[in-house]
């Protein structure tokens, strides 16, 4: 079983479109939506939920007004400015600022503060027309996204064993922070979608540094290559120098958006066109065992 993660650094580079395409071209993979912050893959794959689980978010401080002696110790010690007196002169907690560290509870001389665990995040095991899907709904403003991604990937591995699936495809988040780290660590290969723009190239390089730190093999896809041919040539040269295989060059094409408006993956929408042909190239590469060995030997040297 191979686990593949699709990331890009920059948002809107085409991760979910590529992931959707791979999903429909591979034979019944397990699909994980690791972009728990803005999960969109379900729009293409229309999962039917089979199991719902809760995932603990951060804890939040709650104040017992009857016990509070207004000593202000909590306000003075909180490093996240999460406590304040509201308009009515009552000590209040800002849930978005509260990190759930519990310092205020420990320092309160009147035992007036309690920490309450949030359980509003949900994650699901679903079936789609292409295979099992593991996805989540995270409460906005939440900060446990890295841990939730790790949970989803564990569940996906279990499901892949159960289904005897040959592939797990993880749709990654934008950026390089905790959710991206949790999406990339320990995968067998990372597909990086590079938007042919200066921002796309800049953000790709930072994401590439992150993936390199895990010594995971990288393959690349350039998206919207015809928007900036000069830059695309520069990106290709860069990839060549680093021996990163370029598996597909996708043009800017209105059809790519139109497919999503009909809740279809691209190969479903245009089964025979040139874009679908290049998407098939990616799948052919991912299916060859030697591509994993070769890269591993390379990163070991």
């Amino acid at each position: 079983m191979r686990e593949i993660t699709v990331i890009s650094g920059k948002g809107g580079a085409g991760k979910t479109t590529i992931t959707g395409a791979l999903t429909s071209l591979l034979n019944k993979p397990v699909i994980t939506d690791c972009d728990v912050d803005a999960a969109d893959l379900y729009l293409l794959l229309q999962p039917e939920v089979q199991e719902t689980h809760t995932f603990p978010g951060g804890a939040k401080a709650i104040i017992n007004q009857q016990l509070c002696v207004n000593c202000r110790k909590c306000i003075n010690h909180c490093r996240f400015d999460a406590l304040h007196y509201n308009e009515d002169g009552v000590l209040a907690v800002n849930d978005y600022k509260c990190e759930g560290c519990g310092l205020c509870k420990n320092i309160c001389p009147a035992n007036a503060i309690e920490m309450v665990q949030e359980f509003s995040n949900r994650w699901y095991v679903s079936i789609t027309r292409y295979g099992s899907m593991i996805h989540a709904h995270m409460k906005p403003g939440e900060e446990n996204s890295g841990k939730l991604v790790t949970k989803l990937r564990d569940a996906a591995r279990k499901k892949a064993d159960e289904n005897q699936a040959s592939f797990i495809i993880n749709d990654g988040p934008p950026g390089i922070g905790c959710a991206a780290i949790a999406s990339v660590t320990g995968t067998d290969m990372v597909v990086m979608v590079i938007e042919a723009s200066k921002s796309g190239f800049h953000d790709f390089k930072r994401a590439q540094t992150l993936v390199d730190s895990f010594k995971t093999p990288i393959v690349a896809v350039i998206n919207k290559h015809d928007i900036n041919k000069t830059l695309t040539a520069e990106i290709e040269k860069y990839l060549g120098e680093l021996n990163i295989p370029l598996l597909a060059k996708i043009p800017f094409d209105k059809n790519l958006v139109d497919a999503t408006t009909q809740a279809l993956t691209y190969p479903e929408y245009q089964p025979d066109d040139a874009i679908t042909e290049s998407l098939k190239n990616i799948v052919t590469y991912l299916q060859k065992p030697e591509n994993y060995e070769k890269k591993q030997a390379q990163s070991a040297s």
């Binding site: 809107g12 912050d37 969109d40 490093r79 996204s145 390089i176 830059l231």
Partner: protein, 289 residues
């Protein structure tokens, strides 16, 4: 100082184009210069959009992480119990007393419970704040998280605490999404410009962001970018929710090409874009008067 946050649930909708465009046209359409603050600390790329900027200053962002003084530690376990993030490892028999820099949130909970005075904080570098400008005039400040570290929110907090500009108005370019770093960027906004693209993904992520902004009770309006692609579901949704549409920027291949070259001069010079930037500024002036 007035804070205008430019945010988007989905990545790649045009946040940076609008943010940089507003900074660039501020003297013309706002009447005063504005400073651009790049809060997308995971992928800060606003600086690419300005030609020949000088790096005026670079300041380290550090996170104070406690270290345990083993000479004083009695292995009482109080710090470990107080740590909500499982960052502390204590194994008395093996003489191990350690705090993980990656897991530590730098909250100080362990410090207040330690009775042995065995904890000292050491400052770990987690990123930098870079100030760019021309001829000593500040144009933009960016936060840049060190690759591989999970401390994006801490970098944003540091920017807000120590690096706010002294112009009358600042444009905050937010990271994409709706999680903790986005909320930290948003929370003290005077006005929020939400940028959205009318695709199914764009609409889904717009709804998530609107949920957050309404919950924090911030005033906001939506700029629809790349109008004419996707479908009309977004406009139907905005109408139904009575959310104000600030501007509708049609998709234009020339603008997309200018964007790919990351030249704000070229982007803002485009007639269509110029018209909309002026429009957005008028809207901001009205809403923050």
């Amino acid at each position: 100082m007035k804070r205008i946050v430019v945010a988007s649930g989905k990545g790649g909708t045009g946040k940076t184009t609008i943010s940089a465009g507003l900074q660039y046209t501020a003297p013309q359409y706002y009447g005063k210069p504005a400073t651009l603050m790049d809060f997308d600390v995971e992928e800060p790329n606003d600086h690419l959009f300005f030609n020949n900027l000088d790096l005026l200053k670079s300041s380290a962002v550090t996170l104070p992480v406690p270290v345990i003084n083993k000479e004083k530690c009695t292995y009482c376990g109080k710090c470990k119990e107080a740590c909500a993030f499982n960052a502390i490892t204590l194994i008395p028999k093996a003489g191990i007393a350690e705090i993980s820099t990656d897991l530590c949130h730098s909250c100080g909970a362990c410090l207040v419970v330690c009775k042995d005075d065995a904890l000292d904080e050491l400052f770990h570098p987690i990123g930098e704040v870079n100030t760019f400008g021309k001829d000593q005039t500040i144009i933009l400040k960016e936060g840049r998280l060190e690759v591989g570290l999970p401390h994006q929110t801490a970098v944003i907090r540091d920017m807000k605490k120590r690096h706010l500009p002294d112009t009358d108005l600042a444009i905050f370019d937010a990271p994409p999404g709706t999680s903790c770093p986005v909320v930290t960027t948003l929370e003290d906004a005077d006005y929020v410009i939400v940028v959205a693209e009318p695709s199914p993904f764009g609409l889904n992520d717009l709804k998530l962001l609107v949920e957050v902004i309404k919950d924090i009770k911030l005033p906001f309006g939506v700029v629809i970018n790349k109008a004419g692609t996707g479908n009309n579901d977004m406009e139907d949704y905005l109408k139904k929710e009575k959310i104000e549409i600030v501007s509708k920027i049609p998709f234009n291949r020339e603008i997309a090409e200018a964007y790919s070259n990351a030249s704000i001069q070229e982007i803002a010079a485009h007639k269509e874009m110029d018209k909309h930037l002026k429009h957005i500024w008028n809207h901001i002036k009205k809403k923050t008067a």
